[in-house]
Every structure is written in C-alpha cells, then in structure tokens.
Symmetry: C2
Subunit: 608 residues, 2 copies
Amino acid sequence: MSTIPKAADPNLLKIWEASEKNRSLFEEQVRKMALPVQAVFLDNKKIVAAGFEPAADKLALSPDAAEVRKSFPKLYPVTKDEVLQATAGNRPQTKGCRVAVLFSGGPAAGGHNVIVGLKKALGTDNTLLGVRQGPKGLLAGNLFEIADEDLQQVVNTGGFDFLGSDRTKIKGHEQFKQVKAVCHDNRLDAIVVIGGDDSNTNAAMLAEYLYENVHADGRGVQVVGVPKTIDGDLQVGEFLPISFGFDTATKIYSELVGNILQDTPSSRKYWHFIKLMGRSATHVALEVALQTKPAVAFVSEEIEEKNLSLAQSVDIACRAIARRAGKGINHGVILIPEGLIEFIPEMKALIQELNEVMAKFDKVLNGMNTMAEKKDFIYGKISAPSAKLMASLPDEFENMLLLDRDSHGNLQVSQIPTEKLLIEMVRSRLREMKADPTPFVGQAADQVDLTPEEVERFVKSKFATNHHFFGYEGRCGAPTRFDAAYTFNLGLTAGSLLLAGKTGYMVAVNALDQQGAALAIPLTGLICIERRQGKDEMVIEKALVKSDSPAFKYFLSVRERWSNSDCFSSPGPRQLWGPTAKQLPIIVALNQGYANLEFSLGEEIDIF
Amino acid sequence: MSTIPKAADPNLLKIWEASEKNRSLFEEQVRKMALPVQAVFLDNKKIVAAGFEPAADKLALSPDAAEVRKSFPKLYPVTKDEVLQATAGNRPQTKGCRVAVLFSGGPAAGGHNVIVGLKKALGTDNTLLGVRQGPKGLLAGNLFEIADEDLQQVVNTGGFDFLGSDRTKIKGHEQFKQVKAVCHDNRLDAIVVIGGDDSNTNAAMLAEYLYENVHADGRGVQVVGVPKTIDGDLQVGEFLPISFGFDTATKIYSELVGNILQDTPSSRKYWHFIKLMGRSATHVALEVALQTKPAVAFVSEEIEEKNLSLAQSVDIACRAIARRAGKGINHGVILIPEGLIEFIPEMKALIQELNEVMAKFDKVLNGMNTMAEKKDFIYGKISAPSAKLMASLPDEFENMLLLDRDSHGNLQVSQIPTEKLLIEMVRSRLREMKADPTPFVGQAADQVDLTPEEVERFVKSKFATNHHFFGYEGRCGAPTRFDAAYTFNLGLTAGSLLLAGKTGYMVAVNALDQQGAALAIPLTGLICIERRQGKDEMVIEKALVKSDSPAFKYFLSVRERWSNSDCFSSPGPRQLWGPTAKQLPIIVALNQGYANLEFSLGEEIDIF
C-alpha cells in the first residue's frame, strides 16, 4: 500500500489521450463487432448483392390508391402493389453505378450501419457518395466519395454525424429540378434517402420525377428509401415490423425509467411523472411500459378513441394514486407520451380554435399591452366548451397556450411541459378527493374501490413529485445489437435493390426471429391522402398504436395489476455482449407473433 | 412470410408475465453473476471471515484530533490512528453474533451486495438482521432476520428497496438511548450503517455511546460504517479511493452525456446545458467530463479557489461558444455541477445575506402583499455588492432567491435550475458580445482570440439551447461490475471486522487494480470540527476536488483542446459482460496512480 501519487501513471494517461474523438474503450470494441448477414447476401462467406423476385404476399393498398396512382403515372404501373423479396438467384452484375446516400430528419441509432451495408452491397465495382447535411446538402450538391476507411470509423457507432442531417423537405417542382441538376453534375444513378414517413413520401415523388431523362441518354435516377424513426410510427404490418432506431431509443428510455422505478420503493416518497419522446404515436411509451411495468402509462390513441377529457385523464392518474395510497404505497411512476395533449379531443379542439383566433386577430392582439387584455379578448372568441377547458388549466399553462406560434401559425405543442401540467392538475384533484373522499369510493369504473381504512390512509397520505423528460438522450446512443444488425441488412437490401435496377421502393426486413427476409415495399402503395391544414396532401400514414394489436391487448390485460402494487422490473442498460444482448423490442415480438424475443438475422460476419 | 397474427404467441406471453417484479431477462442474468473475492476471505474456495492486523501506513489525523479525542473517551484510545488490514491469519471464530444492518440516506448502486457480503462473512453461525426503512426503522426497532433466499433475490440488483432507507439523523442523547433499547430488546451485538459522511460521523458517536454496558453483562454493541455516496465525496486518500455507487452513477450519466454529445454534430444546432447531481463536490461532473470530453465543464472547487464571479463564470462559457462559432461549430455541451451556485463566492455571500435578512425580518416580510414591496425592502437590507449581483440576475431567478426557506431557514439551492440560469445569462452576454465584439477579441485571458473572419462568423451565428438535469436516473441503476464487486468485498470486510470484535471503524478496500486490500479506518481519526450555522460540529470532512490532484491536473491540461473543437467520445452504456465491463472510474485510476483502468479484486466465485 503506497501513499497517493502526485502524478497519474504515464501509461494510463496514454490510454486516456487515445480515447478522444469517438475512441472510448467501448467505441473501439463495438467497431470490431461482427454483424449478422442474411443468407441471400452471402456467397461463400463473402458479402454480395442479392437479386429480387416477387414476395408471396402483396401489399394491401390504401383506399386512396386510385387517386394516388394519378400522381405517379410512371412509377405506379411498374411497382404496383408488389412487394419484392431478396433472393440468392439472379444476382445483379451491375458495374459503374454511382449512388448518393443522405440522412433526413432527426438522428436514430444505426444510421451509420445503413451506409456500411449499402457500401458492402455495392462492392468495389460501384461508387458510394455521401451527401453532407441531409436534404439541404443534396440541393446544394454537397457530396463526397465514401471510402471503406471512413466506414471503419463509424460502423456500429451512434448518431448521424458521419454525414450530418437536416429537416429541409425536398418537395415541389423547384427542388426536384435542383436535385436533377445535382444528379446530372455528379453523374448519379441512384439516391438512397434514410428518413421517416415524410422523407419516404418525398422520396416517392422524387423517384417519379427522376424516373427518366435525367441524363443525356434518357436514363433516370433510381430512388430508394430506408425506414428510420425512433418513434416507431413507420411500420407496415407484416412487411415492416419496425423502423430502425426505435429499439435503441426505447432501450435507453427503459433503463432510465427502470432505474427511477427502482428508486421509488428505495426512497418511498415520490411519484415520478415521466414524459417520453414520441408526438404522433405512443409506440415508445408503450414499449417502455411493457419493459418496466409502471403504475400508470397513458396511451394517446386510447384516450382519443374513448374521447376522454383532460379531467378524465387526470382522474386515471388520481385513481391509481389513491388506490396505492390506500395500501400505503405513496410512490410510483406515470409515463406520458409527448403527444398526449394533442390526442385529447377537447384539447385538440381548443388548440385549433386558439390557432385560428390568434392568426385571424394577429394585429389586434399585438396591439394589446397586457396578457390579461389578450386573454379577455381571446375568451370572447372561442367556443364555450373550449373557454371552460382553458379556464380549468393552471395559470401558467393557460398562458403557455397563448405563446408565439410557429411559422405555420401553430402552437408549438412540444414546448408545453405536459408532465408538469399533469402534476399540477393531479395535485389539485387529489386535494378535492381528500377533502371529501365519499364520492370517489365505490365500485363504478370512475371510482376508487377502497375500504374505509384505505380511505383514511389515502386522506392522510403525502403526494410528492418529480418530473422528467427523456428525448435527446435516446436518439444518438450506440445502436443495440438489433439496430446495428437490422440497419446493416437494410443497407445491404437497399444496395442490392439499386444494382437490380429498382426504383420507388422502401427497403424492409421481416421474419426477424427466423434469419430475416429482405424486402422492398413499393412506396406508392403506402401513400394515402390526408387533409393537412385545409389541403389534401399525399402522405405515408403514420402507424399508430392499434387497440386490437397484440401488444396493446397485452398491456390492457395487465395494467390494472401493475397499477395496484409494485410489479415493475428493470431491464437494465442495453448490453452489447452477454446473454441478454439480442432482445427485440417486446411490441415487435408480440405484434409479429414471435415465440421469443431473440432476433436472428443470419451468420455473423466480420465486416472489415 | 405469414400475415400479422391477431394474438401474441403464448410462449412469449409466458416469458413476459414471468418478467414482472424485478425479473427482467437482464435481472435474472445478473443475479447469476459470479463476484470476485479477495484472497483473505477465501479458504479453499470457500468464503470465510478474515482476521485483522495493523496496516503498514497510519492515518494522517485531522488538525482537530486533540479536540475530537475528548468526545470519544472510550473509542479513541482503542482505535487511534491505526488503519487495520484484513489478513488470512488469526481468522475470528466468533459464533452467535447478532448483527443489524441498515441503509441511511439516498440510495446508491451496490447497497444490496454489501448485505450479501456481510451475510457471507457472518456465515451460518451468526445472525444477520435487516432494519427496515433506515435510521427511522432502527429507532422504531423495525428489524427482521435476513435469510439466504432473500439475498438470492437482490444480489447484483440496484436500489435500496430490499430494506428501504430514510434521512433521519441518529444523533443526540435521546436517539442514542432509543437505539440502545432496541439493541437490548433484539439482543444485538453489532450494527452496520451503510451511509455517507454524516451517517458515518453519527456511526462514530453511536459506537462511542454503545461502547459498553448495553447488555446486562456489561457488553457493548459494535458499530461499523460502510462508505456510500454517489457524489464520491467520501474518500480517504490512499485508504478509501472512492465511495460505492459513484461508479454506477457516473457511468449512467456519462452514457447520457455521451449520447447528447453524439447528437450535437448530427443535428448541428444545439448547445446542451447539462446539470449533474453532486452538490458538495464536483467529482461526478469531473468524472463525466473526463469520460465524454465536452466543450466546457465547470468545476465548482476551481471557481471558489479562484474567487470567480458569476459574470466571470458566464464568460467562460461565452468564450468557448464564441471560439467554436468562429470555426462554424454552433453546438456543444456544457456540464454544470449541481453545487456550482453555492461555490461562487459572491453568490454564496448573497444567499447567506438573504437567509439572514429573511429570517430576521420574517414577520415584516410576511405582512407585505407584493413581491415588489418585498424586494424593495430586502434590497435595502443587503450589502451593495450583493444588491448589485442580485439585480444582475434574470427576474425569474431573482424571485427564486426569495422563495420559502427550509426548516433551517436556508434557501433550497437544489431547487434553483442553475442550468437555466446559465442559459439566460449566457444568452444575454452573447448578445452584448455580438453587438460589439471588439473588446472581446484579443489575446488576453478573458478575451477570445479570433480572426476577423471568425468574428464575423460568430456575430452571425445562432445560439439555440436545450437543458437537462440528470440525478435520480443514476442512484438506483443496476450496479456496474465494479460497484457489485466492491460492495460485496466491503460487506465481507464489515462482517469480518465485527466477528473480530472491532468497533468504530469504516470499512474500505484499496489496491483496486492489484487484487484489493480490505481495510478498516478508525472513524474518530476522520472527524474534524466545522462551523455549521454558527455552531461547532464534528463532521467527516467532505472530500472535494483538489487542484493538485492528478485527475484535475489532467483535466486542466486538455480542456482547452476539448473546448476548441469536437474531441468528445461516447463511453456507451455500462456493460456487465464483454471486454469493457471492468473499468474503474477514471478519476480513481488517475488519482491512485493505477497503470490501467481494469479493476481486479480477486478470484471470481459463485455466491449462491
């Protein structure tokens, strides 16, 4: 045992200096990890491009198919409703193909591996160009040739930093023309767009626009999409079980929620209200709920379907809190999907009315000096139910609804701290329940079934809270084994598809528990017509949590038990090694009817 | 490829039902993990209690030793300054010993394994009792006998939920008397307190009080402390490299900060201001900074030592932001230790003055109706520098300083969102710098060395922010391999120490890179006299970040580089399996002079 040194050990300093710039001990090890490769992409343990043939099942087209068809006169007759499946037969022999790849929108774990897979499928006979800074970079022609050495640095790492990304939307004639010029200047044969529902919709339109006559010889430029979003709202039934990035994000959030759940019976004094990323659908919060089993988890789609009011939603939480307090459990976790407020029908109506009033009376309101004056004016312009609802909100939140609008005149709902709003409203509702508990005690659905002793315990109980919002933490983490494997195979599929001469498809991999099947889904077949801000728009419908899905039905069957006493479990930090490393998201395994959680996507191959 | 099923697979449902109540796939696997055991605790691969002998080095006593000695007339002459070291010689043969164990204060990862180690050292010839709900439960005599089967459920899991904990302080004659009665009633021979600096101070006093005459035959009750705190501010030079829980908490925070860093060059638009738990010392933020290499990391102790003002601290951030903006990097991460505000000398003075004024004029202030009236009054009562500082704060924060005090009349500083305060002040300072950048450009230490082109780029740059606070997420996570191993060996040491008849020690393990050495540090030797709220109090001094420590010196040598361009790395989620699972905290390895990061604490043994 020596005394404390005055200086660090030189060897350790050397180790640490070397860990700068994405060279942590962890990152150095994950770069070395082998990745599973589906058999169709292997020839004698060497990665090769696959061919394609029609899959057994066809896509169920949207009811708007006839209408959508008109907008895709060139693409539609070719791709139709036919899903393609990769095959080891008729492998493409294409050479000299120049492909550009870009990220579009927010980052998601695994993006880098899509590019690695793409490059491997293209092989040495074709060229892969990276587009810097997303759609904006594509419009500006900001491209560079990607070398294998670049990819050795980013394989299996998180983030989109290798290329960067942005949220510019490529839609409309002017932008398409710009892209065409960039394709021409860079002699591109194909573009791969890694993005969410909107980016894939725009990819379809771009595929149509670039279908022919881009180059002097009449050739067009192929466009293929890769399904990315941590929200998990890009799913296509059996064909696309999930978008990439969802698994990593939800495993990160699940660890944190699990840690906090573990804290609750340790400290025995807090209710934690936790908001989770995911505005348009509740897949994230549902996955995290199934992983961690908290006291309450709101599912936005259910609230909307049942047309629950804000007060009724608050009561759901209050009943759980009262029931547990009756048993002496004054702690718990409540999960709140980011989009909750917009799914509560009366809140949605109120926000819409406010957006309209504030746009219409913009100048009048700007001329007013005080918030009170503005409020008076606005209350006079909205419907009675909306006015009543707005008045029921805590002052702070009432004011927030009157904040500045975004460039489309919409309230920036993501700015509203729903988790704090719920805390305030739950607190005041609990005060009412404690002041006179009799109306709340009974057997009816909206009541709390407590014994007199339990009521007494509830009335005396304390309600202390904490709130959290987990969002950015989940977008750029190192990919899980699943996301790393899945994206690599998506990349292989995209590359193969391009070499096979296909355009207008989104790639997918299903049969995730059975060695995987690489697919290409015709983008036009996914497009519906939706009314957005008073205009018909072509969109890929966001996949919502369905009330008849196996995952939601399972949640329904157990949530009462989870609410009544501590049933939580801690899924722990995601593991890259060891016995638990290969777990699929539970909602995917439930909804796809898999018998267990372990993914299987083929033989593990050293990539570099 | 089949169509989507209407129902989940029954086998999967069975797997998932079984995962409730801390039985996730991960938790089931970590329960099975072997733990390293130091050789002194092994006899033919069987775990046995060790004996003790004086260690080579003695404890450097505090300058207050002579004064402290008076308060420990029985204990001090026995334990003195002698550190004990475990040995395979003279193993204790004690039988029939009844030991109670409790958690005190906030949870930290590894607590459960301390109990497992304790039970294993006590063996089948002695009895271990658990105290429910911490010090409060000890006063109430809320004890139960712990069985091996209980421990099979909690080994290697996070949280303190097996026993619960609370923040009651056991100090003062009345409470000691109560504990004595509980010892008598339960025929206790010893108590193990798992807690932080305050809990260990109180353990020393309790050891003195219970030294003799607890039982009818004149026997006393032994008391031993175990060093717990995620803040890492319980360290004793070479003898106690770190408290348990620190490694897990900082690895959790490091992953999150690393994820967010990875996000910054992906989205290229945000500065993230991240506050990290740790009020009294900056070990947590320093460890996370060394792991992730952000643009800026504040070290409270440095700010205090250099007597920097709030404005100067804000300028540190602004200079980094300006310098990076000059290079076109409009993103980054700024780490803020929770305690920063209290370490800025002028802020500390202001808060102290406010505490005094608000206590003194309590009634006058309560009689006032408006905040404006109160403010006017208070501004008249505080010193000119404090008044100037307070006026420089954004309104929202000025008001926060006048919030309700805690039961001791102190501002609850942890309620102040320092990360948001800094964002506001940085934003307004950047506005000034952009409006007239000339005074900020130059070579002096407080200036920003930019070329004219860089200045122009900075002036045009945007400053968009996000803020985060990571706290509760890190207390109850599953322990890292190090925390699991370390706590198990701390438990073995505590159990052995009790069987060897020792009292008034805190256990420790050092030589963490060299098979470990189990130690016992005399508690009285750690105690100093500190003036708290106008009274002399005996305390174990909190270990702060020292400006001459190897870890801080290393940070100093690299932070300019990290600030000037992206050098970050992502340590990833903590791994329980695989090549990176055994990393020590980097500050521990640096400060202890270890040559590498891997811990080694003996042979791996299956515990159950």
